[in-house]
């Protein structure tokens, strides 16, 4: 058979048709890195894809299309602060991870968390006419609602993995249930977030298994890391008046209702890794009421300094 070339030209048209036309704000990023090369065959062809972005939520809030109730906003603030503080913590690993590949992996997870934080904070701000930036950069320590787990220091790689392990299994159970929230925006943010958090679960579980079953040294470190982190698990599952009201309205779920699944699934990883669930007393907590440990102030100082030195600056 004599090739006519029609097949290759069809393939090319097909691939270009799949490129999203949205170029607002960032210019056209739908062009392959290789420029005018054979874009249909390039492994580095990039497209923005279609997904809910923090900008979409900010726009909906700004135009008055959605407005959270006071309770929903307070709740979104908690979830947003958890993700924001963790993103700031994880970002510190960039250029410091044990391997370049892991550096990028932790950086990706940090950016996922930052995306969730931006969405939740953009939504929460709708109740008080504040932007995500005003909430992130111009609130004081006692106004943050993140749980203590998220502000725990990175420690060594094993401590960070231990923290990721707890965070990802907790967030997965939470976001999975919030996809059915009666608050459409919380449900939409959670639907986007749950897929990303599912990957964070996989990442942390893989490392728990490898560190636990690797060398004597790696096993010692992950055992120690889990003992350091475990006191902060309890606070994640504490109900209060806000969560009770929201659970009744179907907007959210009681944190305590996630505990059984969390224990069962993390327990399965512990069993496979031949580790004991750490038997340590719970830390007092209080993050949801604005009572934080000594760590948060330093995190905020670093995170907020630029915005506070140059209010209103953009670049």
């Amino acid at each position: 058979m004599i090739p006519t070339g029609s097949h290759s030209s069809q393939a090319r048209t097909g691939s270009l048709a799949g490129v999203a036309p949205d170029t607002e704000g960032h210019g056209d990023i739908s062009v392959g890195v290789a420029g005018s090369g054979d874009s249909s065959a390039s492994a580095t062809r990039i497209t923005p894809g279609n997904a809910l972005r923090p900008e979409d939520i900010a726009l909906e809030v700004r135009t008055g299309l959605v407005k959270p109730s006071e309770d929903a906003a307070e709740y979104a603030l908690r979830l947003g602060d958890d993700a924001l503080i963790l993103a700031q913590r994880l970002g510190h690993w960039i250029s410091r991870a044990p391997e370049l590949e892991e550096d990028v992996a932790l950086g990706n997870i940090a950016l996922d968390q930052l995306g969730h934080a931006r969405s939740f904070l953009s939504y929460a701000g709708g109740a008080w006419e504040k932007s995500e930036d005003e909430l992130a950069y111009f609130r004081r320590e006692h106004e943050f609602r993140s749980a203590h787990l998220f502000e725990q220091p990175n420690g060594d790689f094993a401590v960070t993995i231990a923290r990721q392990f707890v965070v990802s299994y907790y967030q997965f159970e939470l976001y999975r249930r919030l996809t059915e929230s009666t608050d459409a925006t919380l449900a939409a943010i959670s639907a986007k977030a749950v897929k990303e958090v599912d990957y964070h679960r996989d990442h942390s579980a893989q490392w728990i298994l490898r560190l636990a079953q690797g060398t004597e040294e790696s096993r010692r470190r992950i055992t120690h890391g889990l003992r350091l982190i475990w006191p902060y698990v309890e606070e994640l599952f504490v109900d209060d008046e806000l969560t009770s009201r929201l659970a009744e309205a179907g907007t959210a779920v009681e944190p305590s209702s996630l505990r059984a699944d969390f224990d069962r699934l993390t327990g399965a990883v512990f069993a496979e890794a031949e580790l004991e669930v750490p038997n340590v007393p719970a830390a007092p907590g209080g993050g949801r009421r604005g009572k934080h440990s000594e760590h948060l102030g330093y995190i905020l100082a670093e995170m907020q300094v630029l915005a506070r030195e140059h209010p209103g600056a953009s670049w």
Partner: protein, 130 residues
């Protein structure tokens, strides 16, 4: 299975941990001698398929302790901008490559042999279905 993945098992394109695989320590060895070489993860070559119907194309390489982690690292390094729907990873030492020094004998021979191309031939008269 729920619409948002399987709650029982974390999402993963790779199989479960191969617990019989050789164990490699995570991170740098805390070596007692500074001259001792740091243990390095093996090199993997990454192939990404950008969309259904196309072939996997070589995208680059990375280091990973085993195949399961290599797939995850490849996902993090080479599909961050929506580049792929499928990834292959291959141990770099499993690839036999042609010798760059043998370019002359290997690749210059076909040059000038235009009779190997269909366009070299003229259509004969009276031949149907061409």
């Amino acid at each position: 299975m729920s619409p948002h993945g399987n709650p029982e098992v974390p999402a993963s394109s790779a199989g479960a941990v191969e617990s019989t695989a050789a164990k490699v320590p995570a991170g740098p060895e805390t070596s007692s001698e500074s001259s001792a070489p740091r243990s390095v993860w093996p090199l993997w070559e990454v192939f990404v398929r950008s969309s259904r119907g196309l072939s996997h194309v070589h995208a680059g390489s990375l280091h990973a302790p085993d195949a399961a982690m290599a797939l995850r690292n490849a996902r993090d390094l080479y599909t961050r901008r929506n580049e792929g729907v499928s990834i292959w990873v291959v141990p770099a030492d499993a690839i036999a490559a042609s010798d760059p020094d043998a370019k002359g004998s290997f690749f210059e021979s076909p040059q000038g042999k235009d009779y190997r191309h269909a366009t070299y031939y003229t259509k004969s008269e009276g031949v149907k279905h061409l």
